[in-house]
């Protein structure tokens, strides 16, 4: 597999597109990040990536004699507008300044106009759920009900908790309305309360303050130094790139303009790819590397800062276990759905060690080859579904499987029935990690 990846990496762009198409029919682990970016440029924007429009229906049948009876879930809100103006203001102020001194090329003029459109579209919508975000959550909710009709049967309880952030509340609302379309007899309750913030959106100040240790900073600086900057872009947009450097910081301009272009794919501007298309695949790819490394240092089990960052989600994991413990005692527990954020989902996935995301290393160059690709975990609408199985309420051997973005995931636990795991094993494994 390693060899295969390298071969693809050296192929020309055209061949890559073809191989990319071929790979849609083969297991995803054979793809490289670069392939994924060619297929879907927004993959390069990590947490700004959009949720896939369709999901392969390839679930393993239920284990023999057992049926799904309970779902526990944590999902991220759908596509949103960028949270604050600052990310857009950085490149915008630079290009506006350059424009005021007549330093824009004709392409630069067009770029400036496109940026104005994006700014106007986002004005007064900072952080709000987009219509695309609603479409994503409707589709995810519909699939969930359709995939597990045993759980979402008539009169089943669906208990939802959202963080108090409006885009999460809205995601919850559209998802639940959609579930009612599939089965009007569901019994749905919804809560969005400060009361649950302690585990629904726990940001550990101490961990957050200390993630960038001097060692981590050094490694990060070294890693990104060769990947920043974009002189090609500067020449494309500015008449005199050298002079303009007085007012335009090349690295920041490149980085934030690219983010802006990719972010647009979350809004109803998604058909307009002008800004996105200014960038070549390798430029997108380098930005992905930069961001992926930073996300790893912030939320992964990175050895450069003690590897404790994923424990920021210890309260959530304990709550998931406690909720499951009490629900297993019920005859028909139904579903518990939670709506929150990527900065919770990513460390949770790392904490549990789903799909190898508990990778612990001090070498940032290893992330890519070992498959620590944050974009695969937390695009807009990302979700983690724990599906529980048993033969009857008296069955002591409860099994579960984990779906990351609706695809069966691997856990670092021994099992005799993958992708299913014994709940007792999972439980003791997680509690052991938390001690």
């Amino acid at each position: 597999m390693e060899r295969m990846k390298k071969t693809i990496y050296t192929l020309s762009g055209k061949a890559l597109v073809i191989s990319g198409l071929l790979f849609t029919f083969s297991p995803s682990y054979a793809q490289t990040v670069r392939d994924l970016i060619i297929k879907k440029p927004t993959y390069a924007s990590c947490n700004y990536d959009t949720y896939p429009d369709s999901v392969p229906n390839n679930l393993t049948p239920s284990p023999k004699g057992k049926k799904p009876f309970y779902i526990s879930h944590y999902g991220r809100h759908g596509s949103r507008y960028i949270s604050s103006r600052s990310g857009y203001d950085i490149p915008f102020k630079m290009i506006a300044h350059a424009d005021s001194v007549n330093e824009l090329t004709p392409t630069g003029d067009r770029v400036f106009d496109e940026m104005k459109l994006v700014m106007n579209d986002t004005e007064q919508r900072w952080g709000e759920l987009t219509s695309y975000g609603k479409i994503q959550h409707r589709a995810i909710a519909r699939r969930l009900v359709e995939r597990f009709p045993e759980i979402f049967c008539d009169n089943a309880h669906v208990s939802c908790i959202s963080t108090i952030v409006p885009r999460c509340i809205e995601s919850m609302g559209v998802a639940m309305a959609e579930m009612k379309q599939v089965n009007p007899k569901l019994r749905i309750t919804m809560v969005a309360s400060q009361r649950n913030q302690w585990y629904m959106n726990h940001q550990d100040r101490k961990l957050r303050k200390n993630y960038m240790t001097p060692e981590a900073q050094k490694a990060y600086n070294t890693y990104i130094s060769s990947r920043l900057g974009n002189s090609r872009l500067m020449e494309l947009i500015f008449k005199n790139p050298d002079i303009v450097k007085e007012i335009v910081d090349e690295e920041n301009f490149n980085y934030y303009l690219m983010k802006m272009g990719l972010f647009q794919q979350n809004t109803h501007f998604y058909k307009n790819t002008y800004l996105r298309d200014l960038f070549e695949t390798d430029e997108l790819y380098r930005m992905w590397q930069i961001d992926n490394a930073l996300w790893y240092i912030q939320h992964g089990a990175c050895k450069l800062n003690g590897g404790k960052q994923p424990t920021s989600q210890r309260y959530l994991l304990r709550q998931l276990i406690a909720d499951a413990d009490s629900c297993i005692n019920l005859e028909k527990p139904g579903a518990q759905l939670r709506f929150g954020h990527e900065t919770v989902l990513l460390p949770l996935v790392c904490l549990i060690g789903i799909n190898g995301y508990d990778l612990a290393t001090d070498n940032l160059d290893e992330l890519e080859e070992k498959g620590w690709w944050c974009s695969s975990v937390f695009p807009m609408g990302a979700n983690l579904q724990f599906i529980f199985y048993r033969s009857s309420p008296s069955d002591r051997d409860v099994l579960l499987k984990v779906l990351l973005n609706e695809q069966e995931a691997k856990l670092p636990i021994a099992t005799d029935c993958a992708p299913y795991y014994h709940w007792a094993d999972f439980r003791s494994y997680c509690l052991g990690k938390l001690e």
């Binding site: 007064q124 919508r125 609302g173 007899k185 969005a192 400060q194 009361r195």
Partner: protein, 448 residues
């Protein structure tokens, strides 16, 4: 004040006089505020009264051949926790301190325990929709679908919007889930965006500045003083006059207790705890009067501050008129639902002069008799709905009827088919009203 008189044309004057006469007869036959508060003291919470969802209100049949095709709805959030944490914590702190010094009566000690329950119930839920509010929101939507079977159909297009605020947003989501369980398929658009604040949560600095001018404030303070008597209540709770004098502001504390008394109805403590037993019926009416006067000054056409506060909602009313025209060409029914703060609904009802909401007076004592009563205007779960009727697409004589909290409302406009009004008359009346005010504003700005 001059500006106020400019609005009153001869025809309006006739309507106002007529209205006042009608109200006085209504007050004589209908229940008075004192009676209504006695029957259900929760009404004393004013706009913080939870609208009960009772039997389906009766609809006057529409004139022959006319069917509803468009509903424009502005709704208040359902029951929610108060938005100020201090309203829970401050009174408790006073009682806790008094208790630590042994200054509470037996009743005072009991009240302290009750306040503790209220505090812990509201902890980390400030401003949030309560479980009762969730139930209420669903019940309201269920009744709306059942009441308008001709228009609330899968053919309809539902455009649902909320301001970006927990209680309104959750009211919207609960309503949406209820609607979805009764409507398959459902064509819907849901939005909660600051983009729409301009007509869902409008702000106006000029009107804000005019609201509490010095004359109004002096008048209101005098009104407060005349209606205040807290010594009985304080003596029933505290044992020591010195403590009261040094540590307690009786006016603030009794107001806080009164506000909390009205807030319990929204929570799961509703049938377990009360604070209304602390007040005599006369005191309940007195506190309600003060609260009512404040809301009137802020949202009503109060003669003290120029009577212009309802114009805060002029863009909302303009949007209503604009929408009424723009849906005329639609084939399929359309339903606009918007969830906004209760003060927006209140001021809009005043601007539209629904029932007695348009009253113009400087006499704060007369509000109850004139029928300007908060809990009838914009309680939690309340709404203004303008329902548009026509015989078919292209019908030149569209009729509208307005429901205030589900009940057919009277508009300040002549009609031959009340409670239905001719859309063209409604539009003309309101647009004129808006233009007159906007002209005054333009002239004022030109003078600056």
């Amino acid at each position: 004040m001059k500006a106020l008189y400019l609005f009153i044309t001869q025809r309006q004057a006739r309507i106002i006089v007529g209205g006042v006469l009608m109200m006085s007869t209504m007050a004589a036959t209908g229940q008075t505020v004192a009676q209504e508060l006695k029957a259900d003291p929760n009404r004393a919470a004013g706009s913080f009264y939870a609208l009960p969802i009772g039997k389906m209100p009766k609809d006057t049949p529409a004139p022959k051949g006319k069917k509803p095709f468009y509903i424009n709805h502005y709704g208040c959030p359902g029951s929610y926790y108060r938005e100020m944490e201090s309203i829970y914590e401050e009174p408790y702190a006073v009682f806790a301190k008094a208790d630590s010094l042994g200054k509470l009566t037996k009743l005072g000690k009991d009240v302290k325990q009750r306040l503790r329950l209220l505090c812990s119930d509201a902890k980390d839920r400030i401003g949030e929709l309560t479980p009762k509010g969730a139930e209420q929101s669903r019940a309201i939507m269920r009744q709306m679908v059942e009441r308008f079977p001709d228009i609330m159909t899968p053919d309809g297009y539902y455009s649902c919007r909320s301001i970006v605020q927990n209680n309104c947003l959750m009211t919207l989501e609960e309503s949406l889930v209820q609607l979805s369980s009764m409507m398959q398929p459902m064509r819907i658009n849901v939005t909660a965006s600051h983009r729409e604040d301009r007509f869902m949560d409008p702000q106006d600095k000029v009107l804000n500045a005019a609201c509490w001018d010095s004359l109004t404030l002096a008048h209101y303070n005098r009104f407060l003083a005349l209606n205040t008597g807290n010594s009985r209540l304080m003596e029933s709770l505290f044992t020591d006059q010195n403590f009261l004098i040094e540590q307690v502001d009786p006016e603030v504390l009794s107001r806080q207790l009164f506000v909390l008394a009205g807030s319990i109805q929204h929570t799961d403590l509703a049938n377990l705890v009360t604070l209304y037993d602390l007040f005599t019926p006369a005191e309940i009416v007195g506190h309600w009067k003060k609260l009512n006067a404040k809301y009137y000054i802020q949202n009503g056409a109060c003669a003290l501050n120029g009577g212009t506060q309802p114009f805060m909602q002029r863009s909302t009313l303009r949007n209503m008129i604009h929408m009424g025209d723009s849906v005329l060409k639609r084939e399929q029914p359309m339903i606009h639902m918007r969830y906004v703060n209760e003060n927006v609904v209140m001021a809009l009802a005043c601007l539209m002069e629904l029932d007695n909401c348009g009253i113009q007076t400087g006499n704060l004592d007369a509000l109850a008799d004139l029928g300007w009563v908060t809990y009838r205007i914009a309680p939690l779960g309340g709404s203004i709905m303008m329902v548009h009727y026509r015989s078919e697409k292209g019908d030149p004589d569209v009729l509208v009827k307005v429901l205030l909290n589900g009940e057919e409302a009277r508009l300040p406009i002549e009609t031959d088919c009340a409670p239905y009004y001719h859309w063209e008359d409604v539009k003309r009346y309101y647009l004129r009203k808006l233009y007159r005010y906007e002209n005054i504003r333009l002239n004022e700005e030109a003078k600056k």
